[in-house]
Symmetry: C2
Subunit: 554 residues, 2 copies
């Protein structure tokens, strides 16, 4: 690949999360000779567990043991913005790295909240970096470039090194009127392009979507008109972190002579962080939920959490008609000003249906213009490549299909090289032509309750088996001579009643056949009981439950 002899400095890129999934972003850049590389980490996010694939798992995080084992070389974590898939793993993974954290104010406030909840606020404080600020971490010179996205203070990073400059876009779109915060600093990106960019590492979420993602300003106009057509109570649900959307909704309310009440913990948490960071100065004065309940229905607008059908969020409780202060009924309306995150469609449909059964009108992006995406569509990606003109395009933040299409697009735009990375691939960016030079330990770790478990441990598979066919737990007591001393205990869960008898009956034969002389410790008995129980269930039911047998030896 290159004929530079060892030892020499290399610039490498190592994604440990986010290249192969939307979520769980964790990207590392390394600089130096292979045996003593310095690292910076860009973002440290989570993916949410899906009930079908990871039942009982709340959060999924990257396996970062490769960096944890050399944590003295990890110079810092830089958070591009405050979405959970970019900062959510910090309280869980920071203890493995114990390095400084860098973020702009709004993001830093939210990280501080997370560290405090995790009992870590005494051990680390994020460094607050100004918008457009620049700082160095060892060989890395890092400049923040303001972009637009669906949260305040999103940043691209210009990472300058002696071997070239990387433009790490973070999550972005081009919104000429973002309503909250700065517009994309196009000049800075163009200047970077003129200076020379080695690699643009870029968001792939919408690489399949033609055109542009659209501006928040258009949503504001549309929502203002839409709210104007509604007579009863109106509730709008949106991602709380989309502060511009909250402002959009609040203005739509004011234009229509409605007062706003926030409902749900995340709404309060985010607006507080936004105010601390200097945003929402124009936000209309809010009502408490109790005050709102006393206004005429045509005068109130609720901003509520729960757009994804989360069962404990405010909107789910409203739809179940058991929210303490908010109740909606015939003549009222709920606007879903959000998208459907894949995997949540059934939960959201259920919410729509419960609201419809209450007589509440449901309005969503299915049928009204009430949402724009925060990620770049194809025309915007093309613009980014025109601005930054990199030697290498590296699609990240996407599923394989998005990243493959993003790479095709980049090549069609004459970017000389496009590399689709996979988590754990160590990619040398310079010197020489970029290529995958190694594969490091990587993978996913599940936060299961409060315990971290490697995905490969198979716990998810075991629990899916339980969900599919239930469980049989059998205990047999053998006396000192190896004879059954009593009827076995048979514990059955998740299996239809009519099958229980078939299983019980099937155990008689192996117990009768048990020969204490030949099988005094019950080793064979154990296996024959297990097989008999599964065979009986299969014959009567068509499924083989998880079956475990224990012997108690007196």
């Amino acid at each position: 690949m290159t004929d530079v002899p060892y030892p020499y400095d290399e610039l490498v890129f190592l994604p440990l999360g986010g290249s192969g999934e939307i979520g769980m972003n964790f990207n590392a850049y390394g600089y130096g000779p292979p045996e003593d590389r310095k690292w910076i980490v860009v973002d440290c996010g989570v993916l949410f567990g899906r009930e079908t694939k990871e039942p009982g798992v709340d959060l999924i995080m990257p396996d970062i043991r490769f960096l944890a084992e050399q944590k003295e070389n990890v110079l810092g974590i830089v958070a591009t913005h405050a979405h959970e898939d970019h900062i959510g793993a910090i309280p869980h993974l920071w203890p493995m790295l114990k390095c400084p954290i860098y973020a702009t104010h709004f993001t830093a406030f939210l990280i501080e909240g997370k560290l405090e909840e995790a009992g870590l606020s005494g051990r680390v404080h994020p460094h607050h970096v100004a918008l457009g600020g620049r700082f160095t971490l060892g060989p890395f010179d890092i400049e923040l470039i303001s972009i637009t996205h669906s949260i305040p203070e999103p940043n691209a990073l210009a990472i300058r090194t002696p071997l070239g400059t990387i433009c790490h876009t973070g999550d972005w779109k081009i919104d000429p009127e973002p309503l909250v915060g700065k517009v994309t600093d196009v000049n800075a990106l163009k200047r970077l392009g003129e200076e020379g960019v080695l690699a643009t590492v870029c968001d792939s979420t919408n690489a399949l979507v033609p055109g542009e993602s659209g501006s928040e300003a258009r949503v504001r106009e549309a929502l203002t008109t839409l709210v104007g057509t509604l007579k009863g109570r109106v509730a709008v649900t949106a991602f709380a972190s989309n502060v511009a959307r909250l402002e959009t909704v609040a203005r739509a309310a004011r234009q229509n002579n409605r007062r706003v009440a926030l409902v749900g913990r995340a709404m309060h948490k985010i607006t507080e962080a936004a105010r601390k960071a200097g945003y929402l100065r124009d936000f209309p004065p809010l009502l408490s939920e109790e005050e709102a309940a006393e206004l005429p229905s045509g005068r109130v607008l609720y901003l509520v959490t729960g757009s994804q059908g989360e069962p404990r969020a405010a909107l789910a409780r409203i739809a179940d008609n058991n929210h303490p202060t908010v109740s909606l009924t015939k003549g009222d309306a709920v606007i879903f000003s959000s998208r459907v995150i894949p995997g949540n469609d059934l939960a959201i449909h259920e919410l729509h249906n419960k609201l419809s059964l209450l007589g509440v009108e449901v309005l969503s992006a299915d049928d009204h213009f009430v949402h724009v995406s925060g990620h770049p569509c194809r025309d915007e990606l093309a613009e980014m490549y025109r601005w930054t003109r990199p030697q290498i395009a590296i699609p990240v933040h996407g599923e394989p299909r998005h990243m493959a299409e993003h790479a095709r697009l980049a090549r069609s735009l004459q970017v000389p090289q496009a590399i689709v990375p996979q988590n754990g691939q160590l990619i040398r960016l310079a010197p020489g032509r970029a290529s995958v030079i190694d594969e490091v330990p990587s993978g996913r770790v599940h936060l299961d309750g409060r315990v971290m478990i490697e995905e490969g441990a198979g716990l998810g598979r075991h629990r899916r088996s339980l969900a599919f066919a239930g469980m049989i737990a059998i205990t047999v007591v053998l006396d000192a001579k190896g004879r059954a001393a009593a009827d076995p205990s048979i514990i059955i869960e998740g299996i239809p009643g009519p099958i229980h008898d078939a299983v019980r009956d099937a155990l008689e034969e192996p117990l009768k056949r048990h020969n204490p002389k030949r099988d005094g410790d019950g080793h064979e008995l154990k296996e024959s009981l297990r097989r008999a129980a599964r065979r009986a269930a299969d014959a009567a039911w068509g499924k083989k439950p998880v079956t475990k047998v224990e012997i108690i030896q007196l």
Copy 2:
């Protein structure tokens, strides 16, 4: 509501499935005096179990015990068309009704296949009714009216009774060029409108979607062009039952000098039924999978099953690179000529991603015009109401949100009355103004393995608990004096290893505290062990597993 004295004849509508969900269609019409009503059933379909909501459940069917208890009055089942959500429950529920079945040829062939698989073909043969045919069942005069949908031989029913005529649309759209089968018999629908329609009972699936669903002919043009741009092997996945789509794809292949091979059992089953019913006469000669494998890659097109990400279907096996005859690689392409059924999005994304990782290009309705819906959008619904001009609109075949919006649309079109029914509501259509007059036992039954279980039995909830937090099964042996005779057996499944010890340790205390004199049968011990195990798991893990304790008394 009405002042007609008893005894009198009533015409009633009773949905037992499909009003509140898309799937599981089961509608009954009753005629006669309340104490001796004759019934006909229109459609008898299934809903597929979703792993999140009904883990381990294959099929969900309506609870029809209300009709089963008076099966001598059920005159017949009329199947409007052959989709699973309209005929899939026949082999499971027919034994409860034992009535004649009526369907057109293509539908009847597929019902016969199902009855044969269920071992019922010796007991019932569906009556074959001609397209446009008319027959009577007791007081019901039933005329089939050809419409268009996404399967051959879809029918609306004109159900004439002495108290008025019902237009039951079945599933439909307006396709001026359906490619396979007849166009919608608009004249028959208009004639019905002139004759006078009491109620139009109508498909709500796309009631939220503006405009029209679009014609199969446009898909044919687009697919022909798209396949022309591809160089390597092409696989197209579509619903096998969409015979017009299969023909569309076959013609697109022929136009592009490619030969077609069918891959997957459903493709063969459906094309066989279609040929028996007289369709696909123009279908190009097919290759076997083996023959196709020997053609140059640019000369072959596979029509494969598995568009919904079904793990055992052909496409999933191809994506896993373990299909016996078909293998796709870099330069090849897969076209998903289908929609994403809600709940299947993650499975489909996974399929897309596996194919992308093989280097295969994935093309879908996300980014190309390769599919049209088979259900009427708002302009088409408006057309249907203009044709049939009913006194009453009854939206069915939809989730509550779809049905509510459909009713709003019907009212806006000046239909005098619109009723949104719920499964189990008995609705009097005549005499007098239509209204809900009773609620009959209804609900859902799960086919769990081979056993039918009422949804309310809680088995799903139990298995979801197992999936969330696993299971602990404890057995304690007490001797004749009530003393623990050995260490307990503790069977743990689905719980992280580090938690096991905490649970084991926590059982020591209650065992030590056990007082054989006071609690000789271990009743209290049982409960204290259960609580100790759950408390220990919760403290160490943050979750409470399903925990069961048994006592073996020597």
